[in-house]
Symmetry: C2
Subunit: 410 residues, 2 copies
């Protein structure tokens, strides 16, 4: 879906008290920017979520330990994942944090410690990180830091992404203007060795510490955890939220209207970034929303959605523009959740093709016309009578996907 281009983010959404940069340190043969840095002028609250893959990469292991007492920065390199690299990998990830802390102290004065820095990497698995190149690049990135540096940072975390992924919001919380920016990378986890999604979010809103982690978890569940391109989970997936309070609002407390607002904007930004990832799937031609209801629980609805979204045979139908709902039924039936065929229904953009487990008369020409759309929705009722729901986004796989992923040599 390379024809699709996101609208630019208005710089009025850039949060106060943050700088960002993206520079080239030489990890990518293309000499494209490959080192991103996000810095808060002051110590910031933070929340983070990491991959649950057993082969969590070294930067994930290090970041999980860091920023327990506040965060100053996020450093991210692209081109090498620093995954499956053993003890040396952890030493290298820690060295990246130390280099950032030292450079920030040298440039800005004041103190910054390595454990106030989150570290991320994305790229090829199982190759030692060229740490000397990164160590040389970090002072350059610190030098380049700017309140307007978000586009550069967004570009420097890209691997095979066809376009930069950014989203922002600005709103009033109890009369004070606050801002939220998000940048992300991830072209649908489709490239050899570069299957990672990263997202960095920064707001100048002040919020009580107890609020942030729950808000991030909820936003991630309905965005980055509700998309699927090829179903694989990376060793490096990371989402980080920094909140430095520089807007000067009274700290947002849980279970208030201001907290609901923050949640809504955070969820919107994450969803926009996630949809950009699905649209950016190399060799994908369609964005398909799965709207699941009638599940015993939201979790069962998500599990059913994942089963349909990951089915290779279903993706083939989407690519072939074939309203072959039997494959969707077969995927649902094997999802491992409660499905009651006698109450189950499937519809493409409002046209029901199956109800009560039986075929429904539907105009084939209208159905094929729907499947030819670049975006459409498959609505599925699992028939249990439960109130569980989920909304999920997926795409197809084309011959170009196969060529890109199999024929490309690292």
């Amino acid at each position: 879906m390379a024809h699709w281009v996101p609208t630019p983010v208005d710089s009025s959404c850039y949060p106060q008290g943050f700088c960002a940069a993206g520079v080239t340190c030489g990890l990518k043969e293309s000499r494209r920017p490959d080192l991103a840095l996000v810095v808060s002028d002051t110590v910031s609250q933070s929340a983070a979520m990491f991959t649950r893959n057993c082969f969590a990469a070294a930067p994930v292991v290090v970041s999980r330990r860091h920023c327990q007492q506040g965060a100053r920065a996020i450093v991210a390199s692209s081109g090498n994942a620093n995954a499956c690299t053993g003890d040396q990998g952890e030493r290298d990830a820690l060295a990246m944090c130390q280099a950032v802390a030292q450079s920030l102290e040298a440039r800005q004065g004041g103190s910054c410690s390595a454990d106030q820095v989150y570290v991320c990497s994305t790229g090829v698995i199982g190759v030692p990180l060229p740490i000397e190149k990164i160590a040389a690049g970090i002072p350059l990135a610190v030098e380049a830091l700017s309140p307007a540096g978000w586009e550069d940072a967004a570009e420097a975390i890209q691997t095979t992404d066809a376009f930069r992924k950014m989203s922002g919001r600005r709103w009033l919380t109890n009369g004070t203007e606050v801002r939220l920016i998000g940048i992300a990378k991830g072209a649908g986890m489709i490239h050899p060795d570069m299957a990672t999604m990263l997202a960095f979010l920064a707001t100048d809103a002040a919020a009580e510490p107890s609020l942030l982690q729950g808000a991030l978890r909820s936003a991630v569940r309905d965005s980055f955890a509700s998309i699927s391109v090829d179903g694989d989970t990376s060793t490096n997936d990371t989402v980080i939220l920094l909140a430095n309070g520089r807007a000067g609002n009274a700290p947002i407390a849980p279970a208030t209207e201001a907290a609901d607002q923050l949640q809504a904007h955070l969820s919107d930004v994450c969803s926009e970034l996630a949809h950009m990832m699905v649209r950016d799937g190399e060799g994908a031609t369609k964005l398909v929303a799965l709207d699941i209801r009638g599940a015993r629980s939201d979790e069962e609805a998500r599990q059913a959605a994942r089963a349909v979204a990951k089915s290779v045979l279903v993706k083939m139908c989407f690519l072939g523009e074939d309203p072959n709902w039997g494959r969707i039924a077969a995927a649902l039936g094997a999802a491992g959740v409660d499905v009651r065929p006698e109450g189950c229904s499937i519809a493409f953009d409002g046209i029901e093709v199956m109800a009560g487990g039986c075929p429904q008369p539907a105009d084939q020409d209208r159905l094929v016309a729907i499947l030819k759309r670049p975006e459409f929705t498959v609505a599925i009722d699992l028939g249990t009578g439960g109130s569980g729901r989920a909304r999920f986004w997926t795409c197809d796989i084309s011959e170009e996907y196969v060529q890109f992923n199999a024929r490309y040599r690292t």
Copy 2:
């Protein structure tokens, strides 16, 4: 892998007291044979395993109820799955059994009831069965029954299979010769709407009723349940074993040497049929064995194998002949089982590429040469120190797979 042709089965393996047939009743536009019948002269013991898909097809629903007190026949139609067809589907599946019972009584005398007949269908989902064509074909199939009719039956259950799938064994049990034949269909679940695997096994060995179901479950676990082409589970998958005792041996009792022999031969026949299915994957170029060890349990080893076997990114590596073990590690790490990177290893045909969670120096030219082989083994130790093991078979997905599955219109 269309170049591969199985060796024919020696007719001396055809079991005593069984007849089989395959005829054309007109379900397939190609006018290829589409109605198969297997009949035991006398009431036979039986065991059966069915899909666990929630949308189990009507013939599965009917077959689950049948043959509790003994079996006489298996009838199978190909071209239409009779799945997602509601109450009419169940009436049609039952009508197939009734037609077989009536035709057998008319032809052979003696009594046969509908509930002594297993029924199977495979083909397009969500289209009512053309029951009148099948009802007209069943007397023709009964007329065609022959002790040598197994090849015809094997052909008549094919859908997109490139070749007939048969396997047989003959051995002495306590001095008496017994025979076992198996026929199957399933080209790797790759065709639109025809994603089903069926296998019918018949032996003239006498066995105690308590033995058969356990022996079949064990054989299926290590064969049909240990292969993956695209990971989807059909609405119609069925495996049936008939044992009519016509060899005249003393009934085989559980936990005896004779039972072990029967198990070994049954497992061999099922494995041969399962491997034929993987080799027959349209657009697949490689047969890859996954040899998992060091798991906490056999079940966790199988789960890890399934995760690797189903990973689209891993399949792309196999197709691209790229020894990119990072994708295998990522798939293992997301499998939901205990994996200890520090004890984990991965090897291609004996050449270790990862050990202790770290890359190993390996000759890239030798590795690429291994991945160019039409068959190779990936050995994986999950590093838990446990004794759980599994052996699993998978294949790649090529551009031809995508063309075949997406571009083909039903």
